[in-house]
C-alpha cells in the first residue's frame, strides 16, 4: 500500500517536473517574451472552463437526484415541512442564480477569449443595468426574509399553554431529563446541590420537586406540543433533533427553551425508514470537549395513550433514591418540604 502510494507520488512529481522543464525550455527556444498574450493555452483554458462547468452540473444533478433519500431526512414535527418548504424555495432561487451566473461567466470566458485582431468593448458602466440587478435581488430577498420571519416567530414564539414540559440538561458528555410528575410542576433546582447522584441538583426544599422523575429515555406524545426547558451545567451544549428540524443551545447559567409538535412516532419512523433500530436522538451540536461526538440521548415518540401509560409507571426520583432523600431530610431538617399524604 505504502509502496503504491509512494510510486504514484513519485510519478506525478516526475510528470509535473517534465511539464515544467519542457515548457520552460520551449519558451526560451522560441524566444517568446515572457508575457506574450498569444498563448497557445488560452483556448485550452477557456474551453476547460466550459467543460468543467458542464461536468460539474451533470454530477451535481445526478448526485442530488440519486441520493435524495439519503440526505433528505424524513420530517417528524409539525413545523418541519414549513421550514423545509422555505429551504427548498430558497434552494430553487439560489440554484437558478447559481446555474445562470456560472453559465454566463464561463461562456463569456470562452466566447471572448483573446484574439489578436479584436478589441474589447469599452463599457465602463450602465446605470440602468446596475439598478436592475440591485433592485431584483433586493425584492427577492425581502420575500425570503418576510416569509422566514413569520415562520421564525411562530417557531420561536411562546409555546401553547398545554405543552408537555420536560427539563433537559446537558453535561459532559450526556443528557439528563426531568419530568414534573403528577403535579405538573418542575421543582426548583440549584447547581450547588449537584452531586454524583443528584446530577441536576434538585432542590427538595421545594415541595413540587418531590414527585419529579428522571427517566433513562425521554418519552413524548405524538401530536401534542412539547416544551423542552434546557440547561447545561458545565459548558455549552446544543440540543439538536434533526428529524424535528429543532435546535437550541444549552447554556450554563442561562436557561433556554424550544418547543415543537412531534408528528411521527418512533414506530412509524421505523416503518418509514425500514430500520427497526431507528431512534430519535438528541445529538449534541456544540463543541463541548472530548466526547462531543458521542453525546446523545434517545427520544421516544409514542401515541398519547402509550405516553400516559408510560408516565404513570414512572417512579419519582426520591422513590428511586430513598436513602439519598433520607439523608437530605436529615441534613436540612428545618426547611425540607414533607410529602403531605
Amino acid at each position: 500500500m505504502n509502496l503504491i502510494i509512494g510510486i504514484i507520488l513519485f510519478l506525478s512529481l516526475a510528470v509535473v517536473f517534465l511539464l515544467f522543464r519542457s515548457t520552460e525550455i520551449l519558451s526560451v527556444a522560441k524566444k517568446k517574451i515572457a508575457t506574450s498574450f498569444e498563448d497557445s493555452n488560452n483556448s485550452f483554458n477557456a474551453i476547460s472552463g466550459v467543460v468543467f462547468m458542464f461536468l460539474s452540473f451533470a454530477v451535481i444533478f445526478w448526485y442530488s437526484y440519486d441520493q435524495f433519500e439519503n440526505y433528505f431526512l424524513p420530517m417528524a414535527s409539525k413545523h418541519a415541512p414549513e421550514v423545509e418548504l422555505l429551504f427548498w424555495v430558497t434552494m430553487a432561487v439560489t440554484f437558478t442564480v447559481f446555474i445562470i451566473t456560472q453559465v454566463v461567466m464561463f461562456y463569456f470566458g470562452y466566447r471572448y477569449r483573446y484574439k489578436k485582431e479584436r478589441k474589447a468593448y469599452f463599457y465602463p458602466e450602465n446605470h440602468k443595468l446596475e439598478i436592475v440587478w440591485t433592485v431584483i435581488p433586493a425584492i427577492v430577498l425581502v420575500g425570503l426574509i418576510g416569509w422566514g420571519l413569520v415562520k421564525w416567530n411562530n417557531i420561536m414564539g411562546p409555546p401553547p399553554k398545554d405543552a408537555v414540559v420536560i427539563e433537559i440538561m446537558g453535561y459532559q458528555f450526556a443528557w439528563a431529563s426531568r419530568y414534573p410528575g403528577p403535579d405538573n410542576e418542575l421543582g426548583d433546582a440549584n447547581y450547588k446541590l449537584i452531586d454524583v447522584d443528584n446530577i441536576v441538583g434538585i432542590d427538595f426544599t421545594d415541595s413540587s420537586s418531590l414527585d419529579d422523575f428522571m427517566p433513562r429515555e425521554i418519552h413524548i406524545p405524538k401530536g401534542k406540543p412539547v416544551l423542552f426547558k434546557i440547561k447545561a451545567r458545565d459548558v455549552i451544549h446544543s440540543v439538536y433533533l434533526p428529524y424535528m428540524r429543532s435546535q437550541m443551545n444549552a447554556v450554563p447559567g442561562m436557561p433556554t427553551q424550544m418547543w415543537f409538535i412531534p408528528t411521527k412516532t418512533t414506530a412509524e419512523m421505523r416503518e418509514e425508514t425500514g430500520n427497526e433500530n431507528f431512534n430519535f436522538e438528541i445529538v449534541c451540536n456544540k463543541i463541548c470537549g472530548r466526547a462531543h461526538f458521542s453525546m446523545k440521548h434517545t427520544v421516544i415518540v409514542e401515541e398519547e395513550w402509550e405516553y400516559i401509560k408510560w408516565k404513570n409507571e414512572q417512579k419519582s426520583w426520591i422513590e428511586k433514591n430513598p436513602d439519598y432523600y433520607a439523608n437530605f431530610v436529615k441534613n436540612n431538617s428545618t426547611d425540607v418540604a414533607v410529602l403531605n399524604d
Partner: protein, 609 residues
Amino acid sequence: MEITKTSTKPKVQEHDHHDDHHDQSFITKYIFSEDHKMIAKQFLITGIFWAIVGGAMSSLFRIQLGFPDMDLTALSPIIGNWLTPQGKIDPEVYLALITMHGTIMVFFVLTAGLSGTFSNFLIPLQIGARDMASGFMNMLSYWFFFLSSIVMFVSIFVEGGPASGGWTIYPPLSALPQAVSGSGMGMTLWLVSMALFIVSALLGSLNYITTVINLRTEGMTFFRMPLTIWAFLVTAILGVLSFPVLLSAALLLIMDRSFGTSFYLSDIYIAGEALSNQGGSAILFQHLFWFLGHPEVYIVILPSLGITSEIIATCSRKPIFGYRAMVYSIFGIGVLSFVVWAHHMFISGMNPFLGSVFTILTLIIAVPSAVKAFNYIATLWRGNIVFTPAMLFSIGLVSFFISGGLTGLFLGNSVVDINLHDTYFVVAHFHIVMGSASFFGLFAGVYHWFPKMFGRMMNRTLGYFHFWVTFIGAYLVFFPLHYIGIAGFPRRYYSFTNFETGRIESFIDLNTFVSFAAIITFIAQFVFLFNFFYSMYRGRKAPKNPWNSNTIEWTTPREPGHGNWPGAIPKVERWPYDYSKPGSDKDYIPQHIPLSKTPESNMPEDSSR
C-alpha cells in the same frame, strides 16, 4: 470629483536621492527592514509557512474522517504522542487540530498573510508613495506578527495540547481547564498569541489607512484609486474598529481564567465541584467575539475581491464594470458587516426578536455582494480575455464567491438556520465563500504581482496545472459537504460511528472521497511552492509591465529599490481603467499618461474620472 492636492510634495523631494545609498546591511535589508516591499515579502513567506501547517493539519483530520479505521502508527515519528495505542488520532487531539487549523487559516494565513502581503506591497506602489506612512510601525507590525506566530506555534507542543475549543473559543469550554485539556496552557498561549496578533493588525491597519489618505501622489484622487486600494482601505478600517473588541473579549476571558472573575461564567458544576462564579453570561462572549468575527470574514475576503477586480479588468482588457458601484458596495459591505454579527447566534438562546432583526440586516448585506458578482461578470462581457494564471484564479474566485455566497441566504434566514446551524452545511459554506475564495485571491495576487515582487516571471504551465487541480479539487472537497450538512451531520465531530443509529453508513463513501480529494489538492500546492521558489531565483526576467497594465506600480524599475521610483513619482492623470479605449491604437493607457497626449481617444466623461 475634482483633484485633491495631496501634501506629498516636500516629501517627494526629500526622498529623491534615496536610492543612491543602497548599502544597507543584511539585517536592515532583510530582517528589520522598514521597506514596505520587504515587509510584504516577510508576511508572504510567513503566511506560506502557516498555510502549509494549516493544510497539513486538515489532511490529518480528513484522514480521520475519511478513513476512520486507518492505522497511523507509520506517522508516529512525527505525530507520535497524538495517537492512541491503536494508532488512531485521539479525540481531543482532533479538536485541537481543527481549532488550530481554523485559527491558522483565518488569522495567520488569510488575515496577516493576505492583507499583510498585498496591502503592504501594493498601497505605496499603486498610490505613488515612497513607502508607508511609518516604516517603523510597519516593521513592528511584522515583528509582532512574528512573535504571535512563535507563541501560537509553541502552543501546539505544550503539555495538554493547544487550544481545542474551536477557533471561536466559546467559554466556558475555553475558560475551564477541567473541561478539555487544551484549555490549560494551550489556551493561555492562544490568548497571548492573539493579543500580539491584534497589536500587529492594528499597527498595520493604521498605517494602511494613513498612507492611503495622506500619501497619494499628485493627481491620485480617491476616485482614481484602483479598486485594490479601496478594498485594502476598507479592510483596514474594519480591522481597526473590530480587533479591539476581540482584544477586550480576550482580556475578559483571561480575567475569568486566571483571576476568578465571572464575566462569562455562571452556575457551573464541573469535575465534581460547583464553582463559585455566578452572574456571568456565556452569551456575552459570543456577542463580543462575533462583533469582530463577522467583520473578520470580510477582512479576509475584501482584499481578495480588490485584487481580482484589478486582475479581471486588466486581463479582460476592459474597464471594470461600474467602478463607482464597486466602491460603494465595498463601503456598503464594510458598514453592514458591523451590524450582522448575531446571525452566528440565532440558536444561542438570545431573544428571538434579536434573531429577527439580524436576519433582516444579514440579508441586506447580500445586495452589495450580489452587485459585485454581477459587475465582475459584466466586465468579462465583450472583453478580450487573456487567461493568465492570475486571471484563472480570479475567475475561480468569482465562481466560489457566488456559490458560497448563495448558501449564505440559507444560513442568514434564521428559521432555515435552526436546522443548519453548526452542521457541515456551514463548513461547506464558509470554506467556499471565505476559505477558497480568499485563497484564490491570494494566489491570483501572487501570480500577478510576482514580476514586481521578484523581477521574474513564474512558469505559466505550472500555474495552469496548479489552477485546474486546485479549482476542481476545492469544489470536490467542499461541495459534497453541503449534502452531509443537509442530512444533519454536526461539525466538529471526531467520528460518526456513534452518530444516530442506522445513519453511520450513509456518507462513508462520500467522506472517503472528500478526504482523497483534500489530500491530493493539498499535495498539488507543492507545485505552486516549487514554482514560487524556483522562479524567484531562476525564473525568466520580467519585462517592466508584463500584463500591459495601467496602474502606476508598473512604471517602477524591474526591481524597485528603496523609495520605489528612482526619479520623481509619476503624476496621475486619469483613472486606472482606460483599457481598449475607442480611438486609441493600444489597448491600454497607463494612469500617468496625460489626456493631452491622447486626443484621439479622449471622451467627455474623462474629465470626471
